[in-house]
Protein backbone atom coordinates (compact mmCIF):
# COMPACT_ATOMS: atom_id res chain seq x y z
CA UNK A 1 0.00 0.00 0.00
CA UNK A 2 2.74 2.42 1.02
CA UNK A 3 4.51 1.71 -2.19
CA UNK A 4 1.51 2.68 -4.25
CA UNK A 5 0.89 5.86 -2.33
CA UNK A 6 4.52 6.83 -2.72
CA UNK A 7 4.33 6.19 -6.44
CA UNK A 8 1.13 8.17 -6.58
CA UNK A 9 2.79 11.16 -4.96
CA UNK A 10 5.76 10.85 -7.30
CA UNK A 11 3.41 10.73 -10.26
CA UNK A 12 1.63 13.86 -9.11
CA UNK A 13 4.95 15.64 -8.53
CA UNK A 14 6.25 14.79 -12.01
CA UNK A 15 2.85 15.73 -13.37
CA UNK A 16 3.04 19.13 -11.74
CA UNK A 17 6.35 19.69 -13.54
CA UNK A 18 4.70 18.80 -16.83
CA UNK A 19 1.89 21.18 -16.00
CA UNK A 20 4.39 24.03 -15.65
CA UNK A 21 5.96 23.12 -18.97
CA UNK A 22 2.60 22.69 -20.70
CA UNK A 23 1.06 25.99 -19.60
CA UNK A 24 3.14 28.29 -21.76
CA UNK A 25 3.04 25.83 -24.59
CA UNK A 26 -0.72 25.63 -24.51
CA UNK A 27 -1.21 29.40 -24.39
CA UNK A 28 1.08 29.91 -27.35
CA UNK A 29 -0.63 27.10 -29.21
CA UNK A 30 -3.99 28.70 -28.72
CA UNK A 31 -2.82 32.02 -30.14
CA UNK A 32 -1.09 30.61 -33.19
CA UNK A 33 -3.00 27.39 -33.52
CA UNK A 34 0.18 25.52 -34.17
CA UNK A 35 2.55 23.10 -32.56
CA UNK A 36 5.25 25.21 -30.98
CA UNK A 37 8.20 22.88 -31.49
CA UNK A 38 10.58 25.51 -30.15
CA UNK A 39 9.09 25.53 -26.64
CA UNK A 40 10.97 22.49 -25.32
CA UNK A 41 14.26 23.70 -26.76
CA UNK A 42 13.87 27.13 -25.20
CA UNK A 43 13.39 25.66 -21.75
CA UNK A 44 16.19 23.12 -22.29
CA UNK A 45 18.55 26.04 -22.85
CA UNK A 46 17.10 27.64 -19.70
CA UNK A 47 17.95 24.52 -17.71
CA UNK A 48 21.53 24.64 -19.01
CA UNK A 49 21.74 28.31 -18.07
CA UNK A 50 20.60 27.41 -14.56
CA UNK A 51 23.27 24.72 -14.39
CA UNK A 52 25.96 27.13 -15.59
CA UNK A 53 24.95 29.77 -13.06
CA UNK A 54 24.91 27.24 -10.22
CA UNK A 55 28.33 25.97 -11.25
CA UNK A 56 29.55 29.56 -11.26
CA UNK A 57 28.71 29.64 -7.57
CA UNK A 58 25.56 31.75 -7.70
CA UNK A 59 23.12 30.78 -4.94
CA UNK A 60 20.24 28.55 -5.99
CA UNK A 61 17.27 30.91 -5.83
CA UNK A 62 18.78 33.81 -7.80
CA UNK A 63 20.43 31.39 -10.22
CA UNK A 64 17.15 29.70 -11.06
CA UNK A 65 15.29 33.00 -11.19
CA UNK A 66 17.85 34.36 -13.64
CA UNK A 67 17.59 31.20 -15.74
CA UNK A 68 13.81 31.63 -15.86
CA UNK A 69 14.30 35.22 -17.01
CA UNK A 70 16.73 33.97 -19.65
CA UNK A 71 14.04 31.53 -20.79
CA UNK A 72 11.57 34.42 -21.05
CA UNK A 73 14.04 36.44 -23.13
CA UNK A 74 14.85 33.56 -25.46
CA UNK A 75 11.15 32.86 -25.95
CA UNK A 76 10.62 36.53 -26.81
CA UNK A 77 13.47 36.33 -29.31
CA UNK A 78 11.95 33.24 -30.90
CA UNK A 79 8.63 35.04 -31.22
CA UNK A 80 10.23 38.06 -32.85
CA UNK A 81 12.48 36.17 -35.24
CA UNK A 82 10.64 32.96 -36.04
CA UNK A 83 6.92 33.73 -35.61
CA UNK A 84 5.95 37.30 -36.12
CA UNK A 85 7.23 37.56 -39.68
CA UNK A 86 5.24 34.46 -40.69
CA UNK A 87 2.19 34.81 -38.48
CA UNK A 88 -0.12 35.54 -41.38
CA UNK A 89 1.20 32.76 -43.58
CA UNK A 90 -0.26 29.36 -44.16
CA UNK A 91 -0.34 27.34 -40.90
CA UNK A 92 2.47 25.02 -41.91
CA UNK A 93 4.99 27.87 -42.26
CA UNK A 94 5.15 28.98 -38.61
CA UNK A 95 5.30 25.35 -37.58
CA UNK A 96 8.38 24.74 -39.67
CA UNK A 97 9.97 27.98 -38.56
CA UNK A 98 9.30 26.91 -34.94
CA UNK A 99 11.01 23.61 -35.58
CA UNK A 100 13.88 25.49 -37.22
CA UNK A 101 14.22 27.79 -34.20
CA UNK A 102 14.28 24.72 -31.95
CA UNK A 103 17.01 23.07 -33.98
CA UNK A 104 19.10 26.25 -33.93
CA UNK A 105 18.75 26.39 -30.14
CA UNK A 106 19.69 22.70 -29.86
CA UNK A 107 22.75 23.16 -32.07
CA UNK A 108 23.80 26.25 -30.14
CA UNK A 109 23.38 24.49 -26.81
CA UNK A 110 25.34 21.51 -28.05
CA UNK A 111 28.17 23.78 -29.18
CA UNK A 112 28.39 25.28 -25.70
CA UNK A 113 27.59 22.36 -23.43
CA UNK A 114 28.29 19.31 -25.57
CA UNK A 115 26.12 16.32 -26.35
CA UNK A 116 26.58 14.46 -23.07
CA UNK A 117 24.12 14.16 -20.21
CA UNK A 118 25.04 16.47 -17.32
CA UNK A 119 24.18 15.75 -13.72
CA UNK A 120 22.14 18.48 -12.05
CA UNK A 121 22.89 19.62 -8.48
CA UNK A 122 20.37 18.16 -6.05
CA UNK A 123 19.17 21.34 -4.41
CA UNK A 124 16.07 19.75 -2.93
CA UNK A 125 16.66 17.29 -0.11
CA UNK A 126 15.60 13.76 -0.91
CA UNK A 127 14.66 12.24 2.44
CA UNK A 128 11.75 10.06 3.44
CA UNK A 129 8.98 11.99 5.15
CA UNK A 130 6.26 10.30 7.13
CA UNK A 131 2.79 11.69 6.82
CA UNK A 132 -0.06 9.87 8.49
CA UNK A 133 1.83 6.60 8.49
CA UNK A 134 2.76 6.87 4.81
CA UNK A 135 6.34 7.46 3.75
CA UNK A 136 6.74 9.95 0.93
CA UNK A 137 9.78 11.54 -0.66
CA UNK A 138 10.51 15.07 0.49
CA UNK A 139 11.66 15.88 -3.03
CA UNK A 140 8.30 15.06 -4.56
CA UNK A 141 6.48 17.09 -1.95
CA UNK A 142 8.69 20.13 -2.40
CA UNK A 143 8.51 19.93 -6.19
CA UNK A 144 4.75 19.71 -5.98
CA UNK A 145 4.62 22.70 -3.64
CA UNK A 146 6.82 24.83 -5.89
CA UNK A 147 4.85 23.92 -9.00
CA UNK A 148 1.53 24.61 -7.34
CA UNK A 149 2.67 28.03 -6.14
CA UNK A 150 3.85 28.94 -9.65
CA UNK A 151 0.69 27.62 -11.29
CA UNK A 152 -1.45 29.51 -8.79
CA UNK A 153 0.49 32.71 -9.42
CA UNK A 154 0.15 32.31 -13.18
CA UNK A 155 -3.53 31.51 -12.84
CA UNK A 156 -4.09 34.60 -10.75
CA UNK A 157 -2.24 36.70 -13.28
CA UNK A 158 -4.13 35.28 -16.21
CA UNK A 159 -7.60 35.38 -14.68
CA UNK A 160 -7.54 38.38 -12.40
CA UNK A 161 -5.40 41.05 -14.00
CA UNK A 162 -6.34 43.30 -16.88
CA UNK A 163 -3.31 42.15 -18.77
CA UNK A 164 -4.09 38.49 -18.21
CA UNK A 165 -7.67 38.84 -19.38
CA UNK A 166 -6.43 40.63 -22.49
CA UNK A 167 -4.09 37.68 -23.07
CA UNK A 168 -7.03 35.29 -22.83
CA UNK A 169 -8.86 37.38 -25.42
CA UNK A 170 -5.92 37.20 -27.79
CA UNK A 171 -5.80 33.43 -27.33
CA UNK A 172 -9.52 33.02 -27.94
CA UNK A 173 -9.92 35.40 -30.87
CA UNK A 174 -6.98 37.47 -32.01
CA UNK A 175 -8.75 39.57 -34.62
CA UNK A 176 -11.56 40.54 -32.27
CA UNK A 177 -9.12 41.29 -29.45
CA UNK A 178 -7.50 43.77 -31.78
CA UNK A 179 -10.88 45.39 -32.50
CA UNK A 180 -11.29 45.89 -28.75
CA UNK A 181 -8.12 47.95 -28.62
CA UNK A 182 -5.94 45.23 -27.12
CA UNK A 183 -2.31 45.62 -28.22
CA UNK A 184 -1.95 42.11 -29.56
CA UNK A 185 1.74 42.15 -30.44
CA UNK A 186 2.66 43.20 -26.93
CA UNK A 187 0.40 40.55 -25.45
CA UNK A 188 1.78 37.81 -27.68
CA UNK A 189 5.35 38.65 -26.68
CA UNK A 190 4.31 38.63 -23.04
CA UNK A 191 2.60 35.26 -23.40
CA UNK A 192 5.78 33.83 -24.91
CA UNK A 193 7.79 35.34 -22.08
CA UNK A 194 5.52 33.88 -19.41
CA UNK A 195 5.61 30.52 -21.16
CA UNK A 196 9.40 30.63 -21.26
CA UNK A 197 9.66 31.66 -17.62
CA UNK A 198 7.32 28.97 -16.27
CA UNK A 199 8.74 26.42 -18.68
CA UNK A 200 12.29 26.93 -17.45
CA UNK A 201 11.07 26.60 -13.86
CA UNK A 202 9.55 23.28 -14.92
CA UNK A 203 12.70 22.27 -16.79
CA UNK A 204 14.88 22.95 -13.74
CA UNK A 205 12.60 20.86 -11.54
CA UNK A 206 12.66 18.17 -14.21
CA UNK A 207 16.47 18.29 -14.25
CA UNK A 208 16.56 17.91 -10.48
CA UNK A 209 14.04 15.12 -10.38
CA UNK A 210 15.79 13.03 -13.03
CA UNK A 211 19.23 14.38 -12.13
CA UNK A 212 19.98 15.15 -15.76
CA UNK A 213 20.27 17.98 -18.27
CA UNK A 214 20.81 17.13 -21.92
CA UNK A 215 20.17 18.48 -25.39
CA UNK A 216 17.43 15.99 -26.22
CA UNK A 217 15.43 17.35 -23.30
CA UNK A 218 14.29 19.90 -25.86
CA UNK A 219 12.31 17.49 -27.99
CA UNK A 220 11.29 15.49 -24.94
CA UNK A 221 9.87 18.57 -23.22
CA UNK A 222 8.01 19.67 -26.34
CA UNK A 223 6.48 16.20 -26.64
CA UNK A 224 5.41 16.14 -23.00
CA UNK A 225 4.00 19.65 -23.13
CA UNK A 226 2.14 18.73 -26.27
CA UNK A 227 0.71 15.57 -24.73
CA UNK A 228 -0.32 17.30 -21.51
CA UNK A 229 -1.91 20.19 -23.36
CA UNK A 230 -3.73 17.87 -25.77
CA UNK A 231 -4.96 15.74 -22.92
CA UNK A 232 -6.46 18.66 -21.03
CA UNK A 233 -7.70 20.52 -24.11
CA UNK A 234 -5.47 22.91 -25.99
CA UNK A 235 -5.53 26.52 -24.95
CA UNK A 236 -7.20 25.95 -21.62
CA UNK A 237 -5.23 26.88 -18.53
CA UNK A 238 -6.81 24.41 -16.16
CA UNK A 239 -6.76 21.85 -18.97
CA UNK A 240 -3.00 22.15 -19.33
CA UNK A 241 -2.63 21.79 -15.56
CA UNK A 242 -4.76 18.68 -15.20
CA UNK A 243 -3.33 17.28 -18.42
CA UNK A 244 0.15 17.59 -16.91
CA UNK A 245 -0.88 15.86 -13.70
CA UNK A 246 -2.56 13.04 -15.61
CA UNK A 247 0.47 12.61 -17.85
CA UNK A 248 2.70 12.31 -14.77
CA UNK A 249 0.40 9.69 -13.29
CA UNK A 250 0.14 7.78 -16.56
CA UNK A 251 3.92 7.74 -16.90
CA UNK A 252 4.35 6.51 -13.35
CA UNK A 253 1.83 3.76 -13.96
CA UNK A 254 3.64 2.75 -17.16
CA UNK A 255 6.98 2.66 -15.35
CA UNK A 256 5.51 0.56 -12.52
CA UNK A 257 3.92 -2.00 -14.82
CA UNK A 258 6.17 -2.10 -17.88
CA UNK A 259 9.48 -0.62 -16.74
CA UNK A 260 11.19 2.74 -16.99
CA UNK A 261 11.99 2.30 -20.68
CA UNK A 262 8.33 3.00 -21.36
CA UNK A 263 8.16 6.39 -19.62
CA UNK A 264 8.80 8.58 -22.63
CA UNK A 265 6.57 6.57 -24.93
CA UNK A 266 3.51 7.45 -22.86
CA UNK A 267 3.28 11.02 -24.12
CA UNK A 268 3.49 9.90 -27.73
CA UNK A 269 0.77 7.32 -27.16
CA UNK A 270 -1.39 9.97 -25.50
CA UNK A 271 -0.96 12.39 -28.40
CA UNK A 272 -2.07 9.75 -30.88
CA UNK A 273 -4.98 8.56 -28.77
CA UNK A 274 -6.28 12.03 -28.01
CA UNK A 275 -6.05 13.06 -31.65
CA UNK A 276 -7.96 9.97 -32.67
CA UNK A 277 -10.56 9.79 -29.95
CA UNK A 278 -11.02 13.14 -28.31
CA UNK A 279 -9.43 15.97 -30.28
CA UNK A 280 -10.70 18.61 -27.86
CA UNK A 281 -9.09 16.91 -24.87
CA UNK A 282 -10.68 15.25 -21.88
CA UNK A 283 -12.07 18.44 -20.39
CA UNK A 284 -12.05 20.40 -23.61
CA UNK A 285 -15.00 22.62 -24.22
CA UNK A 286 -16.03 22.19 -27.82
CA UNK A 287 -13.58 24.61 -29.37
CA UNK A 288 -15.95 27.47 -30.02
CA UNK A 289 -15.76 29.34 -33.28
CA UNK A 290 -12.11 28.90 -34.06
CA UNK A 291 -11.58 29.29 -37.74
Amino acid sequence: MDYYLEQLSNGIAVGSIYALIALGYSLVYSILNLINFAHGYVIMVGAFVALALLQAGIPAVPAIFLACCAGALIAMGVERIAYRPVRHSNRIVPMISALGAGLVLAAGAQLIWGPEVHAFPQLIPRVPVEIGGVTLSSQSLIILAISLVLVAAASWFLHRTRFGIAAQCVCQDLATAQLMGIPVNLIIVAVYAIGGFLGVAGAVLFAMYFNAVFIQMGLLATTKAWAAAMLGGIGSFSGAFWGGILLGLAETAAVMTAGSAYRDGVSLAIIVLVLLLKPNGLFGAPSAERS
Binding site: A177, L179, G181, A285
Partner: protein, 233 residues
Protein backbone atom coordinates in the same frame (compact mmCIF):
# COMPACT_ATOMS: atom_id res chain seq x y z
CA UNK B 1 -16.32 63.28 -34.87
CA UNK B 2 -15.76 63.25 -38.59
CA UNK B 3 -14.64 60.48 -40.87
CA UNK B 4 -13.49 60.96 -44.41
CA UNK B 5 -12.42 58.37 -46.91
CA UNK B 6 -10.79 60.09 -49.85
CA UNK B 7 -10.26 58.17 -53.04
CA UNK B 8 -9.27 55.01 -51.18
CA UNK B 9 -8.13 51.86 -52.91
CA UNK B 10 -8.06 48.72 -50.81
CA UNK B 11 -8.50 44.97 -51.05
CA UNK B 12 -6.93 41.63 -50.26
CA UNK B 13 -3.42 40.89 -51.41
CA UNK B 14 -3.13 42.03 -54.98
CA UNK B 15 -6.87 42.01 -55.52
CA UNK B 16 -8.32 45.48 -55.08
CA UNK B 17 -11.99 45.59 -54.13
CA UNK B 18 -12.48 49.29 -53.47
CA UNK B 19 -11.30 51.54 -56.25
CA UNK B 20 -10.90 55.24 -55.44
CA UNK B 21 -13.90 55.31 -53.15
CA UNK B 22 -15.04 58.49 -51.37
CA UNK B 23 -17.18 58.52 -48.26
CA UNK B 24 -17.77 61.13 -45.56
CA UNK B 25 -19.57 60.65 -42.30
CA UNK B 26 -20.42 63.45 -39.93
CA UNK B 27 -20.96 63.50 -36.18
CA UNK B 28 -24.06 61.67 -35.01
CA UNK B 29 -24.90 60.37 -38.45
CA UNK B 30 -26.29 56.86 -38.88
CA UNK B 31 -25.55 55.34 -42.27
CA UNK B 32 -26.36 51.98 -43.81
CA UNK B 33 -24.11 50.29 -46.31
CA UNK B 34 -26.39 48.33 -48.59
CA UNK B 35 -25.37 45.85 -51.24
CA UNK B 36 -25.55 42.28 -52.37
CA UNK B 37 -23.12 39.54 -51.34
CA UNK B 38 -19.59 40.57 -52.08
CA UNK B 39 -20.46 44.19 -52.85
CA UNK B 40 -17.69 45.40 -50.57
CA UNK B 41 -19.57 46.41 -47.40
CA UNK B 42 -17.33 44.51 -45.02
CA UNK B 43 -14.28 45.60 -46.96
CA UNK B 44 -15.10 49.26 -46.33
CA UNK B 45 -15.45 48.56 -42.61
CA UNK B 46 -12.14 46.69 -42.57
CA UNK B 47 -10.41 49.59 -44.29
CA UNK B 48 -11.82 51.98 -41.69
CA UNK B 49 -10.72 49.82 -38.74
CA UNK B 50 -7.35 49.07 -40.27
CA UNK B 51 -7.86 45.34 -40.64
CA UNK B 52 -6.78 45.65 -44.25
CA UNK B 53 -4.24 48.18 -45.53
CA UNK B 54 -5.30 51.07 -47.70
CA UNK B 55 -3.15 51.09 -50.83
CA UNK B 56 -4.16 54.45 -52.20
CA UNK B 57 -6.00 57.52 -50.97
CA UNK B 58 -6.48 58.53 -47.39
CA UNK B 59 -8.66 57.94 -44.36
CA UNK B 60 -8.89 60.71 -41.81
CA UNK B 61 -10.68 60.53 -38.51
CA UNK B 62 -11.27 63.81 -36.73
CA UNK B 63 -8.70 65.22 -39.08
CA UNK B 64 -5.98 62.73 -38.10
CA UNK B 65 -4.61 60.46 -40.83
CA UNK B 66 -5.17 56.78 -39.99
CA UNK B 67 -2.47 55.51 -42.31
CA UNK B 68 -0.30 52.87 -40.68
CA UNK B 69 -2.38 52.67 -37.50
CA UNK B 70 -3.25 49.15 -36.33
CA UNK B 71 -6.88 48.44 -35.39
CA UNK B 72 -6.07 48.64 -31.68
CA UNK B 73 -4.66 52.13 -32.13
CA UNK B 74 -7.77 53.25 -33.99
CA UNK B 75 -9.90 52.08 -31.08
CA UNK B 76 -8.08 54.64 -28.98
CA UNK B 77 -9.17 57.28 -31.50
CA UNK B 78 -12.77 56.16 -31.03
CA UNK B 79 -13.35 53.75 -33.94
CA UNK B 80 -14.88 50.49 -32.73
CA UNK B 81 -16.35 47.65 -34.75
CA UNK B 82 -18.85 44.96 -33.86
CA UNK B 83 -17.43 42.14 -35.97
CA UNK B 84 -19.58 40.10 -38.31
CA UNK B 85 -20.56 36.81 -36.75
CA UNK B 86 -20.49 38.40 -33.28
CA UNK B 87 -17.19 36.98 -32.08
CA UNK B 88 -17.68 37.25 -28.37
CA UNK B 89 -14.83 35.72 -26.37
CA UNK B 90 -16.47 32.34 -25.81
CA UNK B 91 -14.66 31.23 -22.68
CA UNK B 92 -14.78 34.57 -20.88
CA UNK B 93 -17.80 35.39 -18.80
CA UNK B 94 -20.38 37.81 -20.14
CA UNK B 95 -19.25 40.41 -17.63
CA UNK B 96 -15.59 40.03 -18.59
CA UNK B 97 -16.50 40.38 -22.25
CA UNK B 98 -18.11 43.70 -21.40
CA UNK B 99 -15.09 44.80 -19.39
CA UNK B 100 -12.77 43.91 -22.24
CA UNK B 101 -14.79 46.30 -24.39
CA UNK B 102 -13.56 49.05 -22.10
CA UNK B 103 -9.94 47.95 -22.40
CA UNK B 104 -8.71 51.31 -23.65
CA UNK B 105 -10.50 53.34 -20.98
CA UNK B 106 -8.91 54.58 -17.79
CA UNK B 107 -11.98 56.02 -16.02
CA UNK B 108 -12.83 53.17 -13.67
CA UNK B 109 -15.97 54.76 -12.26
CA UNK B 110 -17.28 55.44 -15.76
CA UNK B 111 -16.65 51.83 -16.76
CA UNK B 112 -18.60 50.52 -13.77
CA UNK B 113 -21.42 52.90 -14.60
CA UNK B 114 -21.56 51.78 -18.22
CA UNK B 115 -21.40 48.14 -17.19
CA UNK B 116 -24.41 48.71 -15.02
CA UNK B 117 -26.14 50.64 -17.73
CA UNK B 118 -25.87 47.92 -20.36
CA UNK B 119 -26.85 45.21 -17.93
CA UNK B 120 -29.86 47.30 -17.05
CA UNK B 121 -30.65 47.76 -20.72
CA UNK B 122 -30.23 44.06 -21.48
CA UNK B 123 -31.36 42.12 -18.41
CA UNK B 124 -30.28 38.86 -20.00
CA UNK B 125 -26.68 40.04 -19.77
CA UNK B 126 -27.06 40.60 -16.06
CA UNK B 127 -28.83 37.31 -15.55
CA UNK B 128 -26.02 35.47 -17.31
CA UNK B 129 -23.17 37.76 -16.24
CA UNK B 130 -21.03 34.95 -14.84
CA UNK B 131 -21.61 32.45 -17.63
CA UNK B 132 -19.13 31.91 -20.44
CA UNK B 133 -20.27 34.04 -23.37
CA UNK B 134 -20.04 31.01 -25.64
CA UNK B 135 -23.07 29.53 -23.89
CA UNK B 136 -25.39 32.39 -24.88
CA UNK B 137 -27.80 32.10 -27.78
CA UNK B 138 -26.87 33.78 -31.05
CA UNK B 139 -29.13 36.73 -30.37
CA UNK B 140 -27.83 37.17 -26.85
CA UNK B 141 -24.28 37.07 -28.18
CA UNK B 142 -25.16 39.80 -30.66
CA UNK B 143 -26.53 42.00 -27.90
CA UNK B 144 -23.38 41.31 -25.93
CA UNK B 145 -21.16 42.15 -28.91
CA UNK B 146 -22.95 45.47 -29.41
CA UNK B 147 -22.84 46.34 -25.72
CA UNK B 148 -19.19 45.31 -25.55
CA UNK B 149 -18.32 47.66 -28.39
CA UNK B 150 -20.24 50.49 -26.71
CA UNK B 151 -18.28 49.91 -23.51
CA UNK B 152 -15.38 51.54 -25.35
CA UNK B 153 -17.46 54.74 -25.62
CA UNK B 154 -16.75 54.93 -29.34
CA UNK B 155 -17.26 58.04 -31.41
CA UNK B 156 -17.85 55.86 -34.44
CA UNK B 157 -19.51 52.46 -34.18
CA UNK B 158 -19.19 50.10 -37.13
CA UNK B 159 -21.57 47.15 -37.18
CA UNK B 160 -21.19 44.33 -39.66
CA UNK B 161 -24.24 42.24 -40.52
CA UNK B 162 -25.86 42.17 -37.08
CA UNK B 163 -28.93 40.34 -38.39
CA UNK B 164 -26.88 37.32 -39.42
CA UNK B 165 -28.41 34.16 -38.02
CA UNK B 166 -30.80 35.92 -35.65
CA UNK B 167 -34.49 35.21 -35.16
CA UNK B 168 -36.83 38.00 -36.31
CA UNK B 169 -37.55 38.95 -32.71
CA UNK B 170 -33.87 39.35 -31.94
CA UNK B 171 -33.32 41.27 -35.17
CA UNK B 172 -35.99 43.71 -34.01
CA UNK B 173 -34.40 44.11 -30.62
CA UNK B 174 -30.87 44.62 -31.95
CA UNK B 175 -31.92 47.07 -34.65
CA UNK B 176 -34.24 49.14 -32.55
CA UNK B 177 -31.42 49.47 -30.07
CA UNK B 178 -28.99 50.55 -32.78
CA UNK B 179 -31.59 53.06 -33.94
CA UNK B 180 -31.94 54.48 -30.46
CA UNK B 181 -28.27 55.23 -29.91
CA UNK B 182 -27.33 58.84 -29.57
CA UNK B 183 -24.00 60.59 -29.34
CA UNK B 184 -22.30 58.08 -31.59
CA UNK B 185 -22.08 57.84 -35.36
CA UNK B 186 -23.04 54.48 -36.76
CA UNK B 187 -22.11 52.71 -39.97
CA UNK B 188 -24.22 49.63 -40.46
CA UNK B 189 -23.31 47.08 -43.13
CA UNK B 190 -26.39 44.97 -43.68
CA UNK B 191 -28.11 42.71 -46.16
CA UNK B 192 -31.41 43.02 -44.34
CA UNK B 193 -32.24 46.21 -46.20
CA UNK B 194 -35.67 46.87 -44.72
CA UNK B 195 -34.39 46.75 -41.16
CA UNK B 196 -31.27 48.73 -41.95
CA UNK B 197 -33.21 51.56 -43.59
CA UNK B 198 -35.59 51.69 -40.66
CA UNK B 199 -32.88 52.55 -38.16
CA UNK B 200 -30.55 54.76 -40.20
CA UNK B 201 -31.18 58.15 -41.74
CA UNK B 202 -28.96 57.68 -44.75
CA UNK B 203 -27.92 54.86 -46.98
CA UNK B 204 -25.06 54.14 -49.33
CA UNK B 205 -25.71 51.59 -52.04
CA UNK B 206 -22.67 49.61 -53.10
CA UNK B 207 -21.99 47.37 -56.03
CA UNK B 208 -18.69 45.80 -56.93
CA UNK B 209 -16.76 47.99 -54.54
CA UNK B 210 -18.16 51.26 -55.85
CA UNK B 211 -20.83 53.58 -54.50
CA UNK B 212 -23.91 53.68 -56.74
CA UNK B 213 -26.08 55.97 -54.68
CA UNK B 214 -26.12 57.88 -51.45
CA UNK B 215 -29.34 59.35 -50.23
CA UNK B 216 -31.70 59.52 -47.29
CA UNK B 217 -33.21 56.22 -46.25
CA UNK B 218 -36.74 57.55 -46.75
CA UNK B 219 -35.97 58.66 -50.30
CA UNK B 220 -34.30 55.38 -51.12
CA UNK B 221 -37.37 53.48 -49.99
CA UNK B 222 -39.35 55.38 -52.61
CA UNK B 223 -36.91 54.64 -55.42
CA UNK B 224 -38.50 52.12 -57.77
CA UNK B 225 -35.21 50.87 -59.23
CA UNK B 226 -33.78 50.38 -55.80
CA UNK B 227 -36.87 48.57 -54.56
CA UNK B 228 -36.71 46.22 -57.49
CA UNK B 229 -33.06 45.32 -56.96
CA UNK B 230 -32.92 45.21 -53.19
CA UNK B 231 -36.41 44.71 -51.83
CA UNK B 232 -37.86 42.39 -54.41
CA UNK B 233 -40.36 44.90 -55.81
Amino acid sequence: MSLSLTSITAGYGDRMILDRLDLDIAAGQRISLIGHNGAGKSTILKAITGQIPVKGGEIRFDGAPMKGLAPEARVRHGIVQVPAGRHVFPQLSVEKNLRVGAFTRRDRAGVEQDLDRYMEKFPVLRAKAKRPAGTLSGGEQQLLAVARALMARPKLLLVDEPSLGLSPVMVDEVFSYLGSLSGVSVVLAEQNVRMALKVTEEAVVLSQGAILQRMSAAQLMQDAGFRRSYLGG
